[in-house]
């Protein structure tokens, strides 16, 4: 991005502007995880992601983020800022509702990102897990369902932490192959 005669960043060319939008849009799902963990609501998380993306695109197009490496930090701070505003706003709404004797909003769902994964996809992953051998299935279940730290998992299985990592890595690879994807590459949403 160049500068104009006054030294201000000149607006990006159309193709560059499109690229910026595409790159920031690609981060939407990560922002949903970030916001849903704090706000416990998919709708609120979507709003935060949208607002953060809008601000990031504006900042990039205005040349306020000069280095690509600064983008994650910008996104973190911006999303946190938007979450804080929304949280305080929600607090005021709750107080107002109490003041007027109304009921408080219903509690947040236990699975704010549940709708992110379709029933069809859940079934496919469940079936793939069922086709793994028992050892692979056990290690993935203990890791992701019970969320046992590696050390606890190693003690439970009577092996070393290193062995747990190797087995888990291989099990994830076999699961990915059953699902027809290559591990470590983002899948199209």
């Amino acid at each position: 991005m160049g500068n104009d005669s006054l030294g201000r960043p000149s607006p990006p060319a159309p193709s560059e502007a499109d690229r910026i939008v595409r790159e920031v849009e690609a981060l939407r799902e990560r922002l949903l995880y970030f916001a849903a963990r704090r706000l416990r609501s998919f709708a609120d998380a979507e709003d935060v992601a949208q607002e953060t993306i809008r601000r990031a695109i504006e900042a990039l197009q205005a040349g306020r983020i000069e280095k690509p490496a600064s983008l994650p930090s910008f996104l973190f701070q911006t999303a946190l800022h938007v979450c804080q505003r929304r949280y305080r706003s929600a607090g005021r709404e709750v107080k107002a509702l109490r003041r007027f004797g109304a009921s408080t909003p219903e509690s947040a769902p236990d699975d704010p990102l549940g709708s992110l994964i379709s029933e069809e996809r859940r079934t496919a992953v469940r079936e793939a897990l069922g086709r793994l051998d028992a050892e692979d299935r056990e290690i993935l279940t203990l890791t992701f369902s019970e969320a046992l730290p590696t050390g606890d998992l190693a003690r439970r299985l009577g092996t070393t932490e290193g062995n747990v990592r190797v087995r888990r890595h291989r099990a994830l690879g076999r699961l990915a192959r059953l699902l027809g994807v290559t591990r470590g590459t983002p899948r199209e949403p």
């Binding site: 981060l27 799902e29 990560r30 922002l31 995880y33 970030f34 849903a36 963990r37 704090r38 706000l39 416990r40 601000r55 900042a59 306020r64 983020i65 000069e66 600064s70 994650p72 930090s73 910008f74 996104l75 973190f76 701070q77 911006t78 946190l80 800022h81 979450c83 804080q84 505003r85 949280y87 706003s89 947040a108 236990d110 699975d111 704010p112 990102l113 549940g114 992110l116 994964i117 996809r121 859940r122 079934t123 992953v125 469940r126 897990l129 279940t141 890791t143 992701f144 369902s145 969320a147 590696t150 998992l153 990592r165 699961l175 990915a176 591990r183 470590g184 590459t185 983002p186 899948r187």
Partner: protein, 204 residues
């Protein structure tokens, strides 16, 4: 905040613990900073979420109650400093009749061009004084302060046209990074009807 490299995220159980809400808050935030810029970890997050969903678990367990106010813990100083700055901002010269409410929704830009607003920045007794002329359609004015590296610092609204910002109360900044202020005039539908140029704050 401790940095997390991709190798560590891959070799350990970070993703599973994060999704299950079992990671300490400071580590969860460090991981978030990392995965926002890491495609590999973002893919691992999706993969872990899918496995949890297939096993009948919530894709993601929300932060525990002790950390549910966003920004508590590691970032509490940021929040407190910003709150102190907002307070100093509106009590500085005694020209503000009442403390303005925090912004609760985003202003939209009116289609087409908006008027320019002449923002004057001068040094004041407790910081920096921002002044701007009245706009005939404006109901409120939104003040936004960002760092020169793009990070947002402060955002608030007021019905006044003069405020003082106590720069020293704002979160510390790396050397060479300064603060930039912008004022937007909002009409009664919260559309932006005028906007100032971005002005660098002296002494920042």
């Amino acid at each position: 905040m401790r940095e997390i490299d991709c190798t560590r995220a891959d070799e350990t159980d970070l993703v599973a613990l994060y999704l299950a809400g079992k990671l300490p808050e400071n580590e969860a935030e460090a991981f978030e900073t990392h995965y926002l810029g890491c495609e590999r970890c973002a893919a691992a997050l999706r993969e872990g979420g899918e496995i949890r969903a297939a096993l009948g678990k919530p894709v993601l367990v929300s932060a525990p109650a002790s950390a549910e106010a966003p920004g508590r813990g590691q970032n509490v100083w940021t929040f407190l400093a910003a709150a102190a700055a907002v307070a100093a901002f509106f009590y500085g010269l005694g020209h503000v009749a009442q403390r303005p409410q925090l912004v609760t929704d985003s202003a939209a830009f009116r289609s087409g061009s908006v008027d320019s607003l002449a923002l004057t920045v001068t040094a004041g007794p407790a910081g920096v004084v921002l002044e701007w002329p009245a706009h005939p359609e404006a109901q409120r004015y939104r003040i936004e302060v960002v760092r020169s590296d793009g990070l947002p610092v402060l955002e608030s609204e007021t019905g006044d046209r003069r405020v003082e910002l106590a720069v020293v109360d704002l979160p510390p900044r790396p050397e060479g990074v300064h603060l930039i202020a912008t004022i937007e005039a909002l009409d009664d539908t919260r559309q932006v009807v005028a906007k100032s140029r971005r002005e660098t704050l002296p002494g920042s």
